[in-house]
């Protein structure tokens, strides 16, 4: 019932976003029916395009989970982009630096991606819990560190440069590849890993004492403390897990999609995860729908661009509007809660 209501709200929000998008499309002199036709066709018209949608949804699924698990603990992980890049790079590194038997090699690469992504979440988590540094700022800043660090790694002259002119590593070993699910597409088994992770995150949050504690900290830290929860440790754990999840997303991209670490492979999957996590109403199952929506918008947008009915910029405006309309109600609710709490707090001071 609740799920149906949420889906209803999201459908209305998407429609509103597309409606405003349609007005802008018409106002800028483009054909509304043509743009929308291509948007839908680009995302769903055949198995290859749908695979493309799923392919683009995969990393957003991971980063949405990353955002929402931190959110459940009352923290803002704005740095999934950096965690994704670090995880992606070190998964790829393990893919060409080691020689291992087939299945084991993939698992090791995934673990490397998860571990380094996790480290990229652990650092701001530790700084927040024990030094009081705002994780909003630290996670975002560490994203830039990751962006430029990995760029330098793979650029010509960098230590892991493996292309000719392109900024990328060498190709990973075949044993480290996440195989394609549908031949002729870029969709890999990474999405299945994603679905498994969804279930794991769901189980963790709702069926383990640690997940229970994490939710308690996010909802009311003072009560959690009273209930014997170690708040600092829980915060570190939450951001570390967030990093692991985003890192796995990066690993799935480099192992399954590009088969190397290619500089700039992420068009902002980490940032999409913020919207994704909010669209999902911070629920792991919701993240599947959120990621699909984001994937479809990206794939459909590419279709519009290819068909030449509107410039790429307009498509991005459309995407932005849809995300805005879907996220806004949740964000507004959240901000007003925060505002009320602050105000109530200010008043409580005698």
């Amino acid at each position: 019932m609740k799920l149906l209501r949420e889906l209803g709200i999201i459908t209305i929000s998407v429609s509103l976003g597309l409606g405003v998008g349609a007005i802008i499309t018409a106002a800028t002199g483009h054909s509304v029916p043509a743009v929308f036709r291509e948007l839908v066709l680009g995302a769903f018209s055949d198995i290859f395009r749908f695979a493309n949608t799923l392919m683009r949804a995969t990393p957003v699924l991971f980063t949405s989970l990353s955002f929402l698990i931190a959110f459940r603990a009352g923290l803002f992980n704005i740095g999934a982009e950096g965690q994704l890049l670090m995880g992606g790079f070190f998964a790829a590194w393990a893919g060409f630096a080691f020689s291992l038997p087939p299945v084991i090699h993939v698992v090791v690469c995934l673990l490397f991606g998860a571990a380094v992504g996790g480290l990229w979440g652990f650092i701001p988590g530790w700084l927040r819990a024990y030094r009081g540094a705002n994780e909003f700022v630290t996670t975002m800043m560490l994203s830039y560190v990751a962006l430029y660090l990995t760029r330098w790694f793979v650029s010509p002259g960098g230590p892991f440069h493996g292309g000719r002119m392109a900024a990328r590593t060498v190709r990973i070993d075949a044993t480290a590849e996440l195989p394609r699910m549908i031949t002729g597409t870029q969709l890999s088994w990474g999405i299945v890993v994603g679905f498994v992770v969804v279930l794991v995150v769901w189980y963790f949050l709702f069926r383990t004492p640690r997940g229970y504690e994490m939710r308690a900290v996010g909802l009311r830290a003072t009560a959690a403390e009273y209930g014997g929860v170690n708040i600092a440790r829980t915060q570190v754990l939450a951001l570390a897990i967030a990093g692991v999840l985003a890192g796995l997303g990066g690993a799935s991209e480099t192992l399954g999609n590009h088969r190397a670490f290619v500089e700039g492979f992420s068009p902002g999957y980490g940032w999409d995860g913020i919207a994704g996590g909010l669209i999902a109403r911070a629920h792991p199952i919701g993240a599947i729908f959120a990621a699909l929506l984001m994937g479809a918008l990206r794939a459909g947008g590419a279709g519009v661009d290819r068909a030449g009915v509107a410039p790429r910029d307009l498509v991005e405006v459309l995407q932005g509007l849809v995300i805005l309309f879907v996220v806004a109600p949740e964000l507004i609710r959240y901000l007003s809660r925060l505002w009320n709490r602050r105000r109530a707090h200010g008043r409580a001071q005698p």
Binding site: F206, R207, T208, P209, R210, G211, Y212, E213, R215, A216, L219, R220, T222, A223, A224, E225, Y226, G227, G228, N230, G346, R347, Q349, P350
Partner: protein, 508 residues
């Protein structure tokens, strides 16, 4: 015969699914303090909000000075001479007292405020009614009592002849209650009609001329205060007989110390010393009461004992085990449970269900946790169901969020959870604050039952009546120190009240 100020005829207010007021007739007279008594949720505040124009009545008619009126919003009410002081103050914290008088009520002709005139008027009013307050003080820096005075002044400044006070004593310390009562009497003597909303019987009997009791949205009756008794009013409120004289049977203590606090010191959140070398001992079969004006270190003392606040010096020993530096979980493990004063911020996670709250603090214990990594929803739900039944929590189901429960039922959830842990020591901080008669009765019974079983109880309360009723010994805390100890039977409220203000502070 005094002149009638307000008459209500057949006031009914329905919300979707609930009838908050049903067919209420009520007359308020000038020169009268009219008590509006009822349990939480009886419809007292709703009725007055309708009169004040915050809510529109579904049916019914108001008469003001015998003229039919329709009060559409508070501005109309204020112009008609009706003022209301809410439980939660409606002041702008960043402005001065004088500025708060005139926000939204500017009377000066020009663009500037005539501060001299405003201040003069405030001084006149404060003098007349004993509402001491500095016109140029910033509201933020005022105490709760002072802010309340500002609210009353604001209503008077705006010409209120009918003044509604919604649970005005709920947040006040005893001494300020006395001052408030003096003000209310002065208002009555000046011919104002005062409505005093409360659920405290004793206060209603002390200050009111007539008392109207509401129960479940309906008027139970209006009685002259002079002819009413506590028992009679309580029965009208609850709808059944209420036992007030709690059964405090004599139990023999073995004088075995269960909680020993030795020279305990701790700071408040700002790092200022709040608890100073406090010594106290709670024995088996004993309730030790701690009295004091709010903010004299009681909250910090409780938190320091329960592992929620860093201890700067001294020791805490529970049944022989030192737990000075222990975490809340370790403290609980040696047998000390804590009923926190702020049930909504400490005691419960409001967005968690009843079931989830039922295991807060026990999340790693079997059968709720399965080998520490899994959680058994079934075990948690069935445990919660059992608690709900045993402690008569009124709740649609154990998966209902605790947020949806009434304050009394929220407190029952906490009590159920903590008392079921078979504690040796209970630290109860303001366990009946904000509860109605039925809720208070329940908490008292539970605490006394635990005492009978041999549990040692440290009871911190702002409510002197509660302490006098329950405690075997009574300590008074003032500015972080214990300034004296008395036996409730050998003292009275006046003496304790004086000690709470730092007077007569010799230890006997």
């Amino acid at each position: 015969m005094p002149k009638e100020a307000v008459r209500m005829e057949g006031i009914t207010k329905r919300f979707p699914g609930v009838t908050a007021n049903e067919g209420i007739d009520l007359s308020l007279y000038y020169g009268e303090v009219h008590g509006l008594l009822g349990e939480n949720g009886a419809g007292k505040t709703v009725l007055m909000s309708v009169l004040y124009g915050l809510l529109r009545p579904t049916e019914g008619q108001f008469y003001l000075n015998d003229q039919p009126v329709s009060i559409d919003n508070p501005a109309v009410a204020i112009r008609a001479g009706i003022g209301m002081v809410h439980q939660h103050f409606m002041l702008v914290p960043q402005l001065t007292v004088a500025e708060n008088m005139v926000v939204g009520w500017e009377t000066s002709k020009g663009p500037l405020l005539d501060r001299r005139h405003i201040n003069r008027r405030i001084r006149e009013l404060s003098e007349k009614y004993g509402l001491e307050v500095e016109p140029n003080a910033i509201v933020e820096g005022l105490s709760v009592g002072e802010q309340q005075r500002v609210e009353i002044l604001k209503a008077l400044y705006r010409g209120a002849e009918v003044l509604i006070l919604d649970e005005p004593t709920a947040t006040l310390p005893q001494q300020e209650v006395d001052a408030l009562f003096d003000t209310i009497r002065a208002l009555r003597d000046e011919g104002k009609a005062v409505v005093f909303i409360t659920h405290k019987l004793r206060e209603a009997l002390t200050i009111c001329d007539r008392i109207t009791v509401l129960r479940k949205g309906k008027k139970e009756g209006t009685v002259p205060a002079g002819e009413a008794t506590e028992t009679q009013l309580a029965e009208m409120m609850v709808g059944r007989e209420v036992v007030f004289e709690v059964q405090r049977d004599r139990v023999a203590s073995e004088r075995r110390p269960l909680l020993q606090v030795e020279r305990l010191s701790a700071d408040d959140d700002r790092g200022v010393s709040a608890v100073r070398e406090v010594d106290l001992t709670v024995h088996d079969h004993e309730i030790l009461g701690v009295a004091g004006v709010q903010g004299n270190g009681q909250s910090e003392l409780v938190e320091a004992i329960c592992g929620l606040r860093r201890v700067r010096g001294g020791r805490v020993v529970v049944d022989g085990e030192v737990v000075t530096k222990a975490t809340p979980r370790e403290v609980a493990r040696v047998g000390l449970v804590h009923i926190p004063e702020d049930r909504q911020r400490r005691g419960l996670v409001l967005n968690f269900s009843v079931a989830e709250n039922a295991i807060l603090g026990r999340q790693y214990e079997a059968p709720f946790a399965v080998r520490r990594v899994g959680q058994s929803k079934a075990a948690i739900a069935s445990y919660a169901r059992q608690l709900v039944e045993r402690f008569s929590v009124v709740v649609p189901g154990v998966h209902t969020p605790v947020r949806a429960l009434s304050g009394g039922n929220q407190q029952r959830v906490i009590l159920a959870r903590e008392l079921d842990r078979q504690p040796k020591v209970i630290v109860a901080a303001q366990p009946t604050r904000g509860l109605d008669v039925g809720g208070i009765e329940f908490v008292w019974e539970q605490l006394l039952a635990m005492r009978r079983e041999g549990v040692g109880i440290l009871l911190v309360s702002m409510d002197l009546d509660e302490l006098m009723t329950l405690a075997d010994r009574l300590m008074v805390m003032y500015q972080g120190e214990i300034v004296g100890e008395r036996k409730p039977r050998e003292t009275d409220k006046q003496e304790i009240g004086l000690m709470m203000l730092g007077g007569a502070g010799e230890t006997s």
